[in-house]
């Protein structure tokens, strides 16, 4: 997939006692991108955003090459971690983008620490339960079913299906699945208290949803739109659950003007 965009550096950052992996690239106002349950990387959309902003894409504790600290037991722990993360980098106010699990973390961050945000972008975000719009059960899916559930873009899907993980990659994946279970086993990928709290959010909010998301129904995006004052929901047509990976041009087209409007 040919995507324009600027390069990045991969480094380690110590936040308190926890060392995490961090992808960073570009120049301009700070944008933080929080990844989903599948793990962190420099996403094609991050590369596009880095043309206009400084993009920070941290790998959550318990994922990738980041530490797996014993205190990590819930999304609330990650919210506090990312507060420390901003302090460590000296970032006063940032644009916060979160996808899937990362969208849940971003929404929780916004309800409690919005004074640190310029804007909020939720992409196919987990975090709330909408009766009748059940999120599919990731924990019972075999790898093939999981890939078919997550991706609509044929090239991305094909790449996922063809993956031949090395033993090292399997070890990382196993650890990530355990971390996801810690965060999202019960209640399943949501916080029952979050829907009511979303009404506190006063920062400009954009919600993106892959038109073909088979993991989290778009009714969840609509519920986010209704619960967050002034939020706007935009569908990304040629994407499934992972628009930032599957449709970087469409995402960049939606996100960049929105961020520029709220500097």
């Amino acid at each position: 997939m040919a995507v324009s965009g600027v390069g990045y550096v991969e480094e380690f950052l110590r936040v308190g006692e926890t060392r995490i992996q961090l992808f960073r690239g570009g120049r301009g106002d700070p944008v933080v991108v929080l990844h989903g349950a599948g793990g962190g990387s420099w996403l094609p959309t991050s590369a596009r955003l880095a043309e206009a902003f400084t993009v920070y894409a941290p790998v959550h504790p318990g994922f990738g090459a980041s530490d797996d600290p014993p205190w990590l037991q819930g999304v609330d722990d990650l919210v506090l971690f990312y507060l420390d993360f901003l302090d460590t980098l000296g970032l006063e106010r940032v644009h916060l983008i979160g996808t899937s699990l990362g969208g849940w973390i971003a929404a929780e961050f916004a309800v409690s620490h919005q004074h640190r945000l310029r804007s909020l972008v939720l992409v196919d975000a987990a975090g709330i339960h909408v009766p009748g719009a059940e999120m599919a059960d990731l924990f019972v899916m075999d790898p093939t079913t999981r890939a078919r559930t997550l991706f609509h873009n044929p090239a991305v899907l094909e790449q996922a299906l063809a993956a031949q993980p090395t033993p090292e990659m399997l070890q990382v994946e196993l650890r990530q699945r355990v971390t996801v279970a810690k965060l999202a086993w019960n209640p399943y990928f949501h916080n029952p208290k979050l829907p009511r709290r979303l009404g506190r959010i006063r920062v400009p909010t954009l919600i993106l949803w892959g038109r073909h998301d088979h993991l989290i129904p778009s009714a969840v995006g609509q519920a986010y739109e209704q619960a967050i004052p002034g939020a706007r929901l935009v569908f990304i047509e040629e994407a499934g659950h992972s628009p930032l990976r599957e449709a970087p041009e469409a995402c960049a087209k939606a996100i960049i003007p929105f961020l520029r409007g709220h500097v």
């Binding site: 924990f139 019972v140 899916m141 075999d142 033993p167 399997l170 070890q171 196993l174 650890r175 699945r177 355990v178 996801v180 279970a181 810690k182 086993w185 019960n186 399943y188």
Partner: protein, 377 residues
């Protein structure tokens, strides 16, 4: 050697098209397939079999806990033990076991098992398990904390039975302001604790350290041999020599008049157990964190899942099934006992779709013609 009759209480009426239509007999198998009218008949038939084992002189009868599946229909083993408590008089009631981490209130287990112990005059064996991986889906309990919860619930229950109450318990997973169960158990300091397992090394070492009998659930003979050796090693490391009474083997046994009849009569029923009601996708069998963080351990379990692919002949050859005439079965068990040194046999004498009549005859032949040969070893 002591002989126990172990029952799984499987659902024997899966539809003809089960293989094609359903990918799991666990967690997601639609419960419309459970017919309560037939269930009434089945439960009572199974209970009759357990009661008959008491009359036949088995050392004990065993019940266990599984949830939302066709493999074993005893979500509450304590309820089944309660129905047996006053209908049996000699056999130990072995609850193998209560799945402690699945409980948000393990004190309830301490209360119920103490009740059973008092009612039966001290015939209860308190088995404790983590529950299979699938149960963590069914109960929405986080598999990551399975072992922590198991250990903490175990500690709570033992302390509830042995320390004067009321006292306070503040754990990571369980917090109670008043631990003060009425009744207290009759057996002192508490009912015997047994640990059935599927081979987790941590469980084996822990059981050996605590001197709790460890029971290996049906597995290939080489796995059982290794489990027992690991237990004995862990016992030596803990400063004592394990006795055969601390090692149990839970296996499927079928006795008929002749070897040929045994092979013929047991095959379909046994394959129903191994090929149908044991069917579950890997992701349901091994939820994340259930086995810790070692992918090699996961791989070993993946191999075990493949027992679903074994033919009947292979199941017999690998020791999942012991069958034949009374003389053949007794000789095989004596040989295995000499080799592996276990002192507890939990015989699955009903399995799969085995009929009530054949189950009763299996119980009878085992009790009358096999068991006497095992008593002295």
């Amino acid at each position: 050697m002591e002989s126990y009759f172990f029952h799984l209480m499987p659902w024997p009426h899966l539809p003809e098209d089960f293989d094609e239509k359903y990918d799991s007999a666990w967690v997601t198998l639609p419960n419309r397939l459970y017919d309560p009218v037939r269930g009434h008949e089945i439960y009572n038939q199974y209970l009759d079999e357990l009661e008959y084992a008491d009359a036949l002189g088995f050392d004990g009868i065993c019940v266990n806990e599984h949830h939302q599946n066709a493999y074993g229909t005893m979500p509450s083993p304590n309820l089944v033990a309660a129905t047996l408590a006053r209908r049996t008089s000699r056999a130990k009631l072995a609850i193998l076991g209560n799945a402690l981490p699945l409980r948000d209130h393990p004190l309830r287990v301490a209360e119920e098992v103490a009740m059973l112990d008092v009612i039966t005059g001290g015939r209860v064996i308190h088995g404790i398990v983590r529950g299979l991986g699938a149960e963590y889906h069914s109960n929405n309990v986080n598999p990551v904390y399975s072992r922590e919860r198991f250990l903490e619930a175990h500690e709570l229950i033992v302390r509830a039975w042995t320390e004067p109450g009321p006292f306070r318990f503040e754990g990571k997973h369980y917090q109670l302001r008043y631990v003060n169960p009425w009744p207290r158990p009759l057996q002192q300091p508490h009912p015997p604790i047994w640990v059935p397992g599927t081979g987790s090394p941590e469980t084996i070492v822990w059981a050996a350290q605590k001197r709790y009998p460890y029971l290996q659930v049906y597995s290939p003979v080489k796995t059982i041999r290794k489990a027992f050796d690991d237990y004995r090693k862990a016992a030596e490391a803990a400063g004592y020599t394990a006795s055969p009474k601390q090692l149990g083997w839970m296996t499927l046994i079928y006795v008929a008049e002749t070897d040929g009849a045994a092979w013929q009569e047991a095959k379909e029923a046994a394959l129903y157990l191994f090929h149908k009601v044991s069917k579950r996708p890997l992701e349901i069998y091994l939820p994340p964190g259930y086995l810790g963080l070692n992918p090699l351990v996961e791989q070993a379990r993946v191999d075990k899942v493949k027992s679903r692919e074994r033919s009947f002949e292979e199941l017999v050859q690998d020791g999942f099934v012991i069958l034949g005439s009374p003389a053949t079965v007794a000789e095989q068990l004596r040989a295995y006992q000499r080799e592996m040194g276990f002192g507890i046999l939990c015989a699955l004498l009903h399995f799969g779709t085995l009929s009530h009549e054949l189950t009763l005859r299996n119980l009878e032949l085992f009790a009358k013609e096999v068991m006497p040969n095992l008593r002295a070893i």
